[in-house]
């Protein structure tokens, strides 16, 4: 919402301070100012000038050569490119040496051989709007040479871009802002006559369903959607450009003047926040107009030139034959006021916010009127706004208003009355307030307060706050806001411990981060949106067709980050992510969600060091990492060789994690087919592990006494055929070794020369120990021999000699 400082002071002369001081006060009241434009400040060099002669430029068809009276002793030759320049009219003019708001300095110039001593300006060049179709023709009495900002009514003006929250429709007008900013609130706000304006001589003829005036029937078919409809007929208007004061007002708030009748409605929109609409009376058919529901499929071309199709739930204003306005949102094209219009029908109505919002969303129309109606327009403000528009139209376009106007008013507004407990105010706000203090804060905003004599105050809510102030707490907010948030102390009181335990999954996530960071991995974050092949939970309104689904696995997103790093020449990439996986549970169900941990690594095992050759990360690094993560995240789960479909891993170089029967993770070497990486990149390894939804607290470990007796070790190298898994031999050894076998380690693997084809040599170290005594060589030898005997029962396995 753009606020003009001059307009604000016009309504509330008591408002003091410059734009910056006001902006600070506004922010403290809850409507911060996003930007301030000093409207006149950069226009000090601009003067009013009269074009005395406008002739063709001898060397250019599109240029005019003008003789200009800029207040000096002599007329100036000025070249002008605007199509609308004409002799006798007044325009803003920059003399040689003057500067435009954009910093451009005007110099004496030869344009196509003719000297130009200055420049006639468009509204855009002056920073007064977007209009660049021609130079700005002034409608002022000011003499040539007088300062433009004075003549145009911009002196001292500033445009404040005020941010208004969705609950404060009442602030979408100058009068609304004035109520908050005037020193005495509502009492300090008035509505002075506009230049040439007079109280319209019009009487209201009130009825509930339909009212006829001047041969036209005005009606409301849907009183729940249209509370009130005022209609007036103004005959004999002269449609044309608005006078400068009106243009200046509109330009000051960034609106484009159109013609005096339309400008009058826009003026009142910005001044009072009440949308109104002017129709060309001659185009209305059937001598009637009213609010009704649209016919399903009915078409209308709105003022923006778009053809719209309406549905039966949408409220429209229609004449005897067709829709002439999408109620409260945008008028129809043919019935709009044009230069040819002489008789006007003026509408001023109140529409229900939800219905306006639904229609405007369905049709996709943004308009100043719709924006205000959906945020609530004062249901008690129609008559004042109606009279104000008539005042402005008659003052600027002439014409005569029919002495009787229609006032269809089926559902008059009843002022809401609320109870406000002083004790509740104190309880919620934490500081004492007496009744007079509460009343003193509310009354300037237009609330009518009866202090009563007990704890409870009675408060009548003004119409413009009827939508957002409906409960006691809404009043308490107003008390706090007007008291000033800055004035509340900030000393902390005691607190009681929360009943909510810290969710254990946060702790697990945190432990896993610590574990992985300690192993040299970096945490990544990626959004959950992925290409269609990577998930089955679809967004119904996706941001892009490239990423319309939510991810099932995290690894693909992580691999894309690995690729990006590799593409930028980063060779050592070790990333992990903790994130959410989504899986469809079928139609009608919310998707299943799971918090998961994913890892993707590639590059060297250790940073380069001068003492040793580089080693690349390989499958065994990933395998060990997976085992460590599973132990921490899912105690009891097993890491087994195995391939999970869709995991992007190499079969034969992949593991699956099982917890009971459930597959809860996978890991291994990423298939080169699933990657787009430079040829120099090493193996990429990845894993993904679902975390339990509610991790059980890890049980306290029970400390065991350290061994009192020494261990004895025996090493053996076994020749093992490829078909026999090491894990099988270890298990066999454990079963044969009995209680004395304390541990088994693999300490070497050899494949190659001197071994039978298809076999390898695995070296094991067996550790024997008794908790009760030092073992004798005999005992150890016996146990070791039975282990050897047992493992040699496996097909093809024998001790290597």
């Amino acid at each position: 919402m753009n606020v003009s400082l001059n307009w604000l002071r016009f309504l509330a002369p008591g408002v003091e301070g410059d734009a910056h001081a006001l902006a600070e006060a506004m922010a403290a009241l809850g409507f911060p100012v996003e930007g301030i434009d000093a409207l006149g400040a950069e226009l000090g060099d601009i003067v009013v000038a009269r074009v005395v002669e406008a002739g063709r430029h001898p060397n250019a068809d599109r240029l005019s050569l003008c003789r200009v009276d800029a207040g000096g002793d002599e007329l100036l030759d000025v070249v002008c490119g605007a199509p609308n320049v004409r002799a006798g009219a007044l325009y803003p003019f920059v003399p040689v040496g003057g500067v435009l708001p954009d910093g451009m300095k005007i110099r004496k110039a030869k344009i196509r051989g003719e000297t130009s001593n200055g420049m006639l300006c468009s509204a855009k060049e002056l920073g007064l709007g977007v209009d660049h179709s021609g130079i700005l023709e002034l409608r002022t009495d000011a003499a040539p040479g007088s300062p433009f900002v004075e003549a145009f009514g911009l002196a001292g003006d500033a445009r404040l871009d005020v941010e208004v929250t969705a609950n404060r429709g009442d602030l979408l007008s100058h009068v609304g802002v004035a109520r908050e900013m005037a020193p005495r609130g509502v009492e300090g706000v008035a509505l002075p006559r506009v230049p040439g304006g007079a109280e319209p001589k019009v009487e209201l003829r009130t009825g509930e369903g339909a009212v006829e005036v001047d041969g036209i029937t005005v009606s409301i078919d849907e009183p729940t959607l249209c509370r009130r409809f005022l209609g007036a007929v103004i005959r004999g208007v002269t449609v044309g450009p608005s006078p400068d004061w009106l243009q200046a007002r509109l330009r000051a708030v960034g609106a484009r003047p159109i013609n005096n009748v339309v400008d009058a409605t826009n003026y009142v929109l910005f001044e009072l926040g009440q949308p109104t609409h002017a129709y060309d009376l001659a185009t209305l058919k059937g001598r009637r107009i009213g609010a009704r529901l649209a016919a399903e499929g009915e078409g209308v071309r709105t003022l923006d030139g778009e053809d719209r199709t309406l549905s039966a739930s949408m409220l429209v204003i229609a004449d005897g034959e067709r829709t002439v306005n999408v109620a409260g949102i945008m008028g129809e094209d043919e019935t709009a006021v044009s230069d040819a219009t002489t008789d006007v029908f003026l509408e001023c109505a109140h529409f229900e916010p939800r219905s306006v919002r639904t229609t405007k969303k369905a049709l996709g129309i943004q308009s100043d009127a719709g924006y205000r109606y959906e945020r609530w327009v004062d249901p008690t403000g129609q008559e004042r706004a109606f009279r104000r528009v008539i005042e402005v139209i008659v003052a600027t376009a002439g014409g005569t208003v029919h002495p009787v106007a229609a006032d269809v008013h089926p559902d008059p507004w009843t002022t809401p009355r609320l109870s406000l407990r002083r004790s509740r105010v104190e309880r919620l706000l934490g500081v004492p307030f007496d009744g007079a203090a509460v009343a003193g804060l509310l009354r300037p905003l237009g609330f009518v307060v009866d202090e009563g004599d007990g704890d409870t105050l009675t408060v009548d809510v003004p119409g413009w706050r009827g939508y957002d102030v409906t409960r006691e707490v809404d009043l308490i907010e107003e008390v706090a806001r007007r008291y000033g948030f800055d004035r509340f102390p900030d000393r902390a009181g005691p607190f009681r411990p929360t009943t909510v335990p810290d969710h254990p999954l946060f702790r697990l996530e945190d432990d896993l981060r610590t574990l992985l960071v300690g192993r040299g991995l970096f945490e990544a974050q990626t959004p959950a949106f992925v290409p269609p092949t990577e998930g089955d939970v679809h967004l119904s309104n996706p941001l892009s067709q490239e990423e319309p689904v939510l991810r099932r696995d995290l690894v693909p997103s992580l691999l894309r980050r690995v690729q990006r790093n590799l593409a930028r020449g980063v060779r050592d990439v070790r990333l992990f992510e903790v994130g959410t996986s989504f899986r469809s549970r079928g139609p009608g169900e919310a998707p299943a969600e799971e918090t998961r941990l994913a890892v993707a690594i590639t590059g060297r095992r250790r940073p380069e060091h001068w003492s040793e050759p580089d080693e690349a990360l390989d499958l065994r690094d990933l395998q060990g990492l997976l085992a460590a993560l599973v132990r921490r995240a899912r105690p009891g789960a097993r890491v087994e060789p195995g391939f999970v479909d869709g995991s992007r891993l190499m079969p034969g170089e992949a593991f699956v994690v099982r917890d009971g029967d459930a597959e809860v993770g996978f890991g291994g070497r990423v298939s080169p087919d699933a990657l787009d990486v430079p040829p120099w990149a090493g193996a990429v390894l990845a894993l993904e592990l679902a975390l339990p939804a509610l991790p059980a607290p890890s049980p306290d470990p029970t400390a065991r006494a350290l061994p009192a007796y020494p261990a004895v070790e025996r090493d053996v190298a076994l020749v093992v055929p490829g078909a026999v898994a090491s894990a099988t031999l270890v298990e066999a050894a454990r079963s044969a070794g009995g209680p004395l076998l304390d541990g088994v380690e693999v300490f070497d693997l050899y494949e190659g020369e001197h071994l039978p084809e298809g076999t390898r040599s695995i070296a094991y170290r067996f550790r024997f120990r008794s908790p009760e005594r030092t073992l004798t060589d005999d005992e150890v030898d016996r146990a070791f021999r039975s282990i050897i005997a047992r493992v040699e029962e496996e097909p093809g396995v024998h001790v290597r000699r």
Binding site: N167, V431, D490, E523
Partner: protein, 346 residues
């Protein structure tokens, strides 16, 4: 009295005395002093003894000479050893170049936004908050209606929402966790709800359609606007330093009333030690819990009051670490992530 046994005895006594001085010597100069005192050609005490050789029977001279040589050799050896021991560190330095870099393991690091989330949690944990979580795919009820946000109110526009299908959406804030917690727990409630939220925003420097949020909720008897302001002021001081101030500006959120935008002003210290205050920076939205929210969750809004707040750790991370584009946090370029390793890389 000059005879062989007494001279040998004198020599041994001198040796013992000299060895004691050698072991007491703490530097090269002291050792050189010992050498001169005992072995010096002119005044050395051992040399002095040897000068008495002339008084001996020539047949006895070799025995004493041998003893003298033994003593001299032993003392010289001791002096050399002591000198070597004193010089040892320098010798080792010549053998191993200790300026060559050592073997370091890889460094890793938490994501910068996680670091900020951790900090936020630690501050609130110290003020008695625990963490709660909830689903990211939510119903309209939990995301809007239970939070006093009718879908036909313009306030619903401010968070353009991503839907999965009718009435099921990706939560646009973590506030649904507040409702779920109020439904499942009795006050006193002091929780933090960190998590991913989603909005229909296209990617640019200050918007991403998915981002992390941290919200907080306090509900108990007697919680007032003063508690609300005090808690946030304390948070700001602990997060940004004791000189930090907060400013509350009235605002509007459907689920809080009164509502406020919270700005902070930090004190920064320049390299020359002078301090100054930053501009006000908006860091969160907050307010007293609207009674309609408590009622919707089945909490007696006459008996209990509370406050809630929400902030974006990625935006705080931008300010804190001088990152000017939110998208950088999603690129996960290792060279960016490395910059957040505590203590830095070598």
């Amino acid at each position: 009295m000059t005879d062989v046994p007494s001279l040998v005895k004198q020599l041994d006594a001198l040796l013992a005395e000299a060895l004691g001085e050698v072991s007491a010597a703490s530097d090269g100069d002291a050792l050189e002093g010992v050498r001169i005192r005992y072995l010096g050609r002119k005044d050395g005490r051992i040399s002095g003894v040897l000068r008495q050789l002339g008084a001996l029977d020539p047949a006895d001279r070799p025995a004493v000479g041998a003893a003298a040589n033994r003593v001299k050799a032993r003392l010289e050896e001791a002096l050399d050893e002591a000198a070597a021991a004193l010089a040892a560190p320098e010798d080792a330095g010549r053998a191993l170049d200790l300026t060559l870099p050592g073997r370091e393991p890889w460094s890793g690091g938490r994501h910068p936004v996680t670091r900020v989330m951790d900090e936020i949690y630690e501050v609130f944990r110290d003020m008695g908050f625990s963490r709660a979580r909830g689903p990211e795919a939510e119903t309209e009820w939990y995301n809007f209606e239970a939070l006093n946000t009718p879908l036909d109110h313009p306030a619903a526009d401010e968070q353009d929402t991503l839907y999965l299908r009718d009435s099921v959406l990706l939560r646009s804030h973590t506030s649904p966790v507040q409702i779920r917690t109020l439904e499942s727990h009795e006050p006193p409630i002091r929780i933090l709800a960190p998590g991913w939220v989603y909005r229909r925003d296209t990617y640019d420097a200050t918007h991403t359609p998915a981002f992390l949020q941290v919200e907080g909720l306090v509900v108990d008897e007697g919680i007032s606007f003063v508690d609300f302001k005090a808690t946030l002021a304390e948070f700001a001081r602990r997060m940004w330093g004791p000189g930090t101030r907060i400013r509350l500006r009235p605002s509007f959120f459907p689920f809080t009333e009164p509502s406020a935008e919270v700005d902070v002003k930090r004190v920064v210290t320049a390299p020359d030690g002078t301090t100054s205050e930053t501009d006000w920076l908006e860091i969160m939205g907050a307010g007293m819990v609207d009674p309609a929210v408590l009622d919707a969750a089945g909490v007696d809004s006459e008996r209990y009051t509370g406050f809630a707040f929400g902030m974006g750790p990625a935006r705080i991370a931008m300010l804190k670490y001088g990152v000017d584009d939110l998208r950088t946090f999603f690129e996960n370029d290792v060279r960016f992530l490395e910059q957040f390793v505590p203590g830095g890389l070598r």
